[in-house]
Symmetry: C2
Subunit: 198 residues, 2 copies
DNA sequence: CAAAATTAATGAACATTGTTCATTAAACAA
DNA sequence: TTGTTTAATGAACAATGTTCATTAATTTTG
């Protein structure tokens, strides 16, 4: 019984890993039942012995990617000064991650997770991602004066919306036209919110 | 030669109208070559005598919908006080329109317009929509003091990103869970930007 | 160890997509 | 009326997700 469980989990892992690789390299457009199964070394039909459908499989990747993104972002923001400055840096690194992996942006924000059992959970994983990244620096900034905790949380929620929208336009609509423009524009906007006007 | 032109344009119009009806009622998920042709009273193959592919047809609707949305929004914001207050109202009505027609939100912001000839133009139509709506009130607010023109434009661009992101989360991810929550939260955020902090 | 029973892996098949193209039907010109 | 251009169409194809009965493998049992 235990061996069953382990083998089954392992096979599921092969499919998940294959899916993650495709999402990273080609994005959602590269995903198909047959491409995943090929990459995993199985027939497309086998996939349905381990997952209800292809969307379940795809959304399982969200948790893994959030973890990877979290490490990528904390790495990039280690040098920043704790508190408000690092909150700014976190928001920008958060944006940069999705610019680096636009396929994951699409998975997180655009692909809709209908009718799947744990959809609410996955949605929270995405929605609270930036807030969670900012938790410790939020406390630091609150303790060291300047801003009330509630006020700061509201601003981070605003930045959460702001960055998602900016990415949506930039990655989907080609506006601003260049990464540099996108980056400086967003930087300015985030700073304006964090520092309370500019 | 003239009759040809007129008839051709008329037939194109039937397809466009059919597409718009489907987009309004069912959204992008209701769109297929066959469903459009059915609604237009033609065979699916006929569509290809008038449009390069189904995406060209779908994106032709963007201009029409922008016009319709523009009227809807100006109607809803007529009573608001010109200048900064109406800019706030415009941003909220803009959001409300897409809540009312989520299928059009998807068309505008999510459906990607690849490789189509006038894609850049269509992208601008979407990206500059809110800014254009605010043009006159932007001037009013600038003339009547308070805020520099450039500064105000920057803030409207920020609100543009903000609203798009908030809608993305609300319509795609079910967060906030209720319309009331979404509405009050966004209201507060927009006010904070327009009034420079809160 | 061999036979039986359970479990895993698979290809055939179906429905639905977008798209192309040769053929039919219609409108028009001679 | 006949010949020609043009519009409308269904057949056909490839790619998609999904289901299911059938193989192949593995485990259990006598």
């Amino acid at each position: 019984m235990d061996k069953k469980q382990i083998q089954e989990e392992r096979t599921r892992g092969y499919f998940v890993e294959a899916t993650k690789n495709i999402l990273r390299s080609e994005g959602v457009k590269g995903i198909s039942v047959r491409s995943i199964a090929d990459a995993a070394g199985y027939s497309f039909a086998t996939l349905y012995n381990y997952f209800r459908d292809v969307r379940e499989l795809v959304f399982i990747c969200v948790g893994d990617f959030r973890q990877e993104a979290s490490e990528w972002i904390t790495q990039k923001t280690m040098a920043a000064k704790p508190g408000l400055p690092r909150i700014e840096a976190l928001a920008m690194a958060y944006a940069d991650y999705f610019v680096e992996y636009p396929g994951i942006f699409q998975l997180f924000f655009i692909e809709k997770l209908n009718e799947i059992s744990n959809s609410q959970q996955t949605a929270g994983l995405v929605y609270n991602f930036l807030s969670d990244l900012c938790t410790t620096d939020c406390e630091v900034a609150t303790v060291s004066g300047q801003l009330g905790n509630e006020e700061l949380k509201d601003r981070i929620e605003l930045i959460n919306n702001l960055v998602a929208g900016a990415l949506l336009f930039y990655l989907n609509r080609i506006s601003p036209p260049s990464y540099t423009d996108f980056r400086t524009s967003l930087q300015k906007q985030v700073a304006m919110i964090v520092q309370g006007k500019g």
